[in-house]
């Protein structure tokens, strides 16, 4: 690969419902300084800072990044692609380095949804005000619609959703970045009440805020730093209208078309022909069990006809790839940061810095990002070796 780039430092605050003791500058500083220290790179070596902040209305302060992430004298801009923000920001940083504009870039994503007292109303304001707002769409019902399609087309059941959610909750108990990880069983999920059929209350991720920072470095300055190398980074955008995704030849509503295409392009860049065999770990931005199942298929980890079997293996931690070792966004989904966290968690695993959740032999990983109703997708492949 021309101009290899590596992640040489990461920093995360804890993710909790509210950081009521910190203002946003402090949250950002914690993550950013941790990343710079981890990278052993000073702010004076950073050629660009990219801020990742998704809907302003969650923080209730417009352009909260300007007061918390931007630094005097350093080039800066903010990316907002909804849930994919964190990964889109990273992709922009890679372009900057590849263009020869900087050797080191700092990416910082911060989520301040702990400010919001009515986050669901905010989430509902993402829908088209002309044709859709009157029909009470919510992000939860948006997910539910697809879950019903998976049940119709592939035979998934509520049991699968509950088991997968329970599995992720068990895994999340080892993730020290989560302030209050929740442990629950599949039965507890099924008993927790229906939010939007078939999604149950315990499936929905809790409100989480926090900051995540990543330092990207061009190969010429990596030296002997502990690095997770970028093997591929791809993104693609889809149509908005969910109704347009049922009958098109390119792929149906559950085919996660742009993730599928991003992953295929990333696999090609990274020389991967057998994802399940050649990747050790997958961190998906899948805030619900049904989202995760669609991602398995889009990433080519299983064929559609084997999706139930693969899901059952993943539930039992028997899949031949580590699945969501952080617990995934079902445990904590700070919107602006979540896609960057998926990449950060993979990088920690490769670099052997994942603490209690560290797995052995992680040398190649894939992380996904999703924005909107899986409209914006990214796929980032990291490797222990320089590509």
């Amino acid at each position: 690969m021309k101009n290899p780039v590596a992640i040489v430092g990461v920093g995360q605050t804890k993710y909790r419902r509210k950081h009521s003791d910190k203002n946003t500058e402090e949250l950002v500083r914690d993550a950013a300084m941790a990343a710079l220290m981890d990278a052993d790179i000073g702010l004076d070596q950073i050629g660009l800072i990219i801020g990742g902040v998704a809907p302003d209305s969650l923080a209730g302060i417009s352009n909260i990044d300007m007061s918390s992430i931007a630094r005097p004298g350093i080039p800066y801009f903010r990316v907002n692609t909804g849930g994919a923000t964190g990964s889109s920001a990273l992709l922009a940083g890679l372009s900057w380095i590849a263009a020869g504009r900087a050797k080191a870039v700092l990416i910082v994503a911060v989520e301040r949804m702990g400010h919001a007292t009515s986050a669901p109303i905010v989430f509902n304001s993402i829908f088209d005000p002309i044709y859709e707002k009157d029909i009470s769409m919510s992000t939860i019902s948006m997910v539910a619609l697809r879950a019903t399609m998976l049940m119709q087309n592939y035979g998934f059941s509520q049991e699968h959703w509950a088991q997968l959610a329970a599995r992720n909750s068990a895994t999340s108990m080892k993730n020290e970045t989560l302030e209050n990880p929740r442990f629950f069983t599949a039965d507890q999920v099924k008993d927790s009440g229906v939010l939007a059929w078939p999604i149950h209350r315990l499936e929905a991720c809790p409100t989480s805020e926090g900051a995540c920072a990543v330092v990207l470095a061009h190969e010429s300055i990596v030296g002997d730093r502990n690095a997770a190398w970028i093997h591929a980074a791809r993104g693609l955008s889809d149509t908005y209208a969910i109704g347009d995704r049922f009958h098109r030849p390119e792929g149906s509503l559950v085919n996660l078309l742009t993730l599928d295409l991003s992953a295929k392009a990333a696999y090609k860049d990274a020389g991967i022909t057998d994802p399940l065999g050649q990747l050790d770990l997958v961190e998906m931005q899948a805030p619900f069990a049904s989202s995760e199942v669609m991602a398995y298929m889009a990433l080519g980890l299983c064929k559609p006809e084997d999706s139930i079997a693969f899901t059952e293996r993943a539930i039992e931690n028997r899949a031949s790839i580590a699945v969501q070792p952080s617990g995934g966004p079902q445990a904590a989904n700070p919107v602006s940061a979540t896609a960057l966290i998926r990449i950060t968690e993979a990088a920690l695993q490769i670099r052997g810095k994942a603490g209690e959740r560290q797995l052995d032999g992680i040398r190649r990983t894939i992380s996904t990002g999703q924005g909107g109703a899986t409209q914006f997708s990214t796929a980032v492949i990291l490797g222990a070796d320089k590509p």
Binding site: D21, Y131, D134, L145, V194, I199, G243, L253
Partner: protein, 159 residues
């Protein structure tokens, strides 16, 4: 982590912005057709021939204007659904069902409320809806020119 000597300061805030969204000629006509003529219209993508509902002024997939109008429905097929079981701020009281329906003659599905099934047992209702039943668009007597001028009613095939 919290300062134990005093509660950290919070200040209440409220965002209350007014917007007027210009629906544009295409959406304006779509809603007028609902209100005045009780019909649901789509527009035809000249490149692919697909009929897009609700009517659109352009196809983003082929990046062309779409100007030919076509009536669709009132019958259709329920593609997917969800039954909202909890109260969300700003949304109607549960339970209620919504779904995407491909109206007869359309190539895309349109979202609306779905009624005509007993929602007292959500799992039982889901069982019916999972079969992707036929539905029919039912118009209100008093229409306002909004998407809620109609809703979908499950057609009982058993008859």
């Amino acid at each position: 982590m919290d300062n134990q000597q005093s509660e950290p300061l919070t200040i209440a805030g409220n965002w209350n912005f007014d917007y007027r969204y210009f629906a544009g000629d295409t959406a304006t006509r779509f809603f007028k057709e609902l209100k005045d003529n009780r019909r649901i219209m789509g527009t035809k993508n000249p490149t692919s021939g697909t009929i897009m509902v609700p009517a659109r002024s352009f196809s983003d997939a082929d990046y062309v204007p779409t100007t030919e109008w076509v009536e669709v429905g009132p019958g259709g097929k329920l593609e997917v659904f969800s039954i909202i079981g909890a109260k969300f701020p700003g949304l109607p009281d549960p339970p209620f069902a919504i779904g995407y329906v491909t109206l007869d003659g359309a190539d895309t599905a349109v979202l609306n409320y779905v009624s005509g099934i007993d929602l007292s047992d959500l799992d039982a209702a889901a069982e019916v809806l999972l079969k992707q039943p036929r539905v029919k668009a039912i118009f209100k007597d008093m229409r306002e020119g909004r998407i809620t001028d109609f809703h979908f009613e499950v057609v009982d095939d058993a008859e």
